[in-house]
């Protein structure tokens, strides 16, 4: 199964077939005629043919639709909004977050809590950062508002837990430093548009 099936938003009406149904017979003879017609039309065998065709397709042509879930997973859209990821800068490996606090401010379910301080180089560093996933509604505002593309939504959607409140710490969401080369840019909410390079204009320094 490919992503195209998920991207097709126009599901449904285009494959509908309208069935022409005959008017209900009024007279006894008409009803008898309908019974005779239905008896010898062989529509029941069409039904048998359909199920047999589906069985042969499923067994020999590989159209089995079962996904053995814990063992196999369906691909999810790049725009899917699951547990957050904290991304790193690809060049230096430093985390992208600049501690601006916009995500904390915009969070409508009030689930992001952060604290910042100045480090020895007078740069802002994130000292505390937690997201309460018991409250988070995965609206994606934090990812949209982030000026550095630092907080994004990842693909970890299996977040059932025994407790209502579930916290995640900054370090848990941060890309591990040894997995930096596998870090992918988020395509979804708040990401750079595909034609971003063309939209950039030179900074007007002339005035």
């Amino acid at each position: 199964m490919s992503l195209e099936q998920f991207k097709n938003r126009n599901v449904g009406s285009q494959t509908y077939k309208m069935i022409e149904s005959e008017p209900t017979p009024e007279s006894g003879m008409g009803r008898f005629g309908q019974v005779v017609k239905r008896t010898f039309k062989g529509e029941l065998f069409v039904g048998l043919y359909v199920t047999m065709r589906e069985m042969i397709n499923a067994l020999f042509i590989g159209e089995m639709h079962t996904v053995k879930y814990p063992l196999e997973k369906l691909p999810i859209s790049p725009r899917y909004r699951a547990i957050h990821d904290m991304l790193r800068l690809l060049e230096s490996g430093h985390y992208r977050c600049i501690g601006c606090g916009l995500c904390e401010k915009i969070c409508i379910s009030d689930c992001i809590k952060m604290d910042t301080r100045y480090d020895e180089n007078q740069r802002k560093e994130v000292s505390e950062y937690t997201i309460n996933f018991g409250r988070c509604i995965f609206c994606g505002y934090c990812a949209e508002v982030c000026p550095e593309l630092a907080i994004v939504h990842g693909g970890r959607y299996e977040n059932a837990s025994e407790q209502r409140a579930g916290f995640s710490l900054f370090e848990d969401m941060l890309t591990p430093i040894d997995a930096l080369k596998d870090q992918k840019e988020f395509d979804g909410f708040g990401a750079v548009t595909p034609n971003a390079d063309n939209a950039i204009k030179k900074t007007p320094l002339a005035y």
Partner: protein, 345 residues
């Protein structure tokens, strides 16, 4: 096929019949259990699913898991139920299904080897009870099996059970006439009620099968057989969407399992009847040996029941009565009359 002279066969002793009965009971129960697995698997394939996959390779041990579940489940008898009838009813279904199989040739004759102690040299016949009214006995026993759902539904003090048993009575009254009349025409042609005579009548290969001579009777018998075994176009007795589980609503554990085994044993009986009466029986077909071809035919009829279940919707009780009394019974009577005229002319 060589004609075996009956006098040459060894004497059938009571020990042999008892051994045969135990074999039928053991093997048909096992096949009935395996039938549930096959049904789930084939229905799944027809719906593009996988079916049971996790217990054993390809889910083959699912029967064992289901068996353990059924045997260890709590056995509940409802408070206001008629306890005796409630407990007896599942036994009626299971017992009559196996009693019907007593008159069906199930496996070939064999003699237990001499070196086995105690039972060595005992001749085990292919039919446990080789009675000369075979077809009549089988149909009668399968009809008596309907007392199981009927009593179970009425004994359990549950409205769904009552509706289920009312539907049992309706179904019984509707199809039983058709079963008898549809099979009457082949009986007239053969002139015997013995299944062995039916088999011998169709010795002439593929073209001599009864279903070519009596196509109408074959179709009617199949329809009535589906109703007799409560299979899908006519599964009114326990249709979940309408009557929860019908007559089996209050049953749990092995009592419910006995209803199930009875149903699958009945399916096997109807498959055997269709194969022997209409589809050439156990005569050799070309190069294929008789025992193999009869197993294939029985398997095909069994598969047809699952196939139909996957394909067709089921009908309402009033539609079943309409179908049986106003369509199938007149057709069956006309078929019998025409057969009689053709035989006389």
């Amino acid at each position: 096929m060589e004609i075996v002279n009956v006098a040459v066969l060894p004497e059938v002793t009571s020990a042999g019949v008892i051994i045969k009965a135990i074999i039928i009971l053991a093997i048909i129960s096992a096949i009935a259990g395996f039938g549930t697995y096959l049904e789930r698997k084939i229905l799944a394939f027809m719906q593009r699913r996988l079916g049971p996959m996790h217990v054993g390779p390809y889910g083959l041990l699912q029967i064992a898991a289901d068996g353990i579940k059924l045997f260890t489940k709590e056995d509940i008898v409802p408070q206001n139920a008629n306890k005796l009838i409630f407990k007896v009813a599942p036994a009626i279904t299971a017992a009559t299904a196996f009693i019907a199989l007593a008159a069906v040739p199930v496996f070939p004759d064999f003699t237990i080897p001499e070196w086995i102690p105690l039972l060595g040299g005992t001749f085990v016949p292919s039919i446990a009870a080789d009675i000369n009214i075979g077809v009549l006995f089988i149909l009668g026993m399968m009809a008596a099996g309907l007392y199981g759902p009927l009593l179970a539904g009425m004994a359990q003090a549950n409205k769904w059970g009552i509706i289920g048993s009312a539907r049992t009575a309706i179904q019984f009254l509707s199809y039983e006439v058709v079963t008898g009349l549809s099979i009457l025409a082949p009986i007239m042609l053969v002139g015997s009620l013995s299944l062995v005579e039916f088999n011998n009548y169709q010795q002439g290969g593929f073209s001599s099968w009864m279903m070519w001579q009596q196509p109408v009777a074959f179709v009617l018998f199949l329809i009535a057989g589906f109703a007799e075994t409560n299979r899908t176009p006519f599964d009114l007795l326990e249709h979940e969407a309408e009557v929860v589980s019908g007559y089996a609503t209050e049953y749990s554990g092995m009592r419910w399992g006995m209803f199930f085994i009875g149903e699958y044993a009945n399916m096997i009986t109807v498959s055997v009847l269709a194969a022997v009466i209409f589809m050439g029986g156990y005569n050799d077909l070309g190069f294929i040996a008789g025992w193999l071809i009869v197993v294939l035919k029985i398997a095909f009829v069994f598969f047809l029941m699952l196939w139909v279940r996957a394909s067709w919707p089921h009908i309402r009780p009033d539609q079943l009565m309409w179908l049986c009394w106003k369509v199938l019974m007149p057709v069956a009577v006309v078929n019998v009359v025409i057969t009689g005229f053709v035989m006389m002319v």
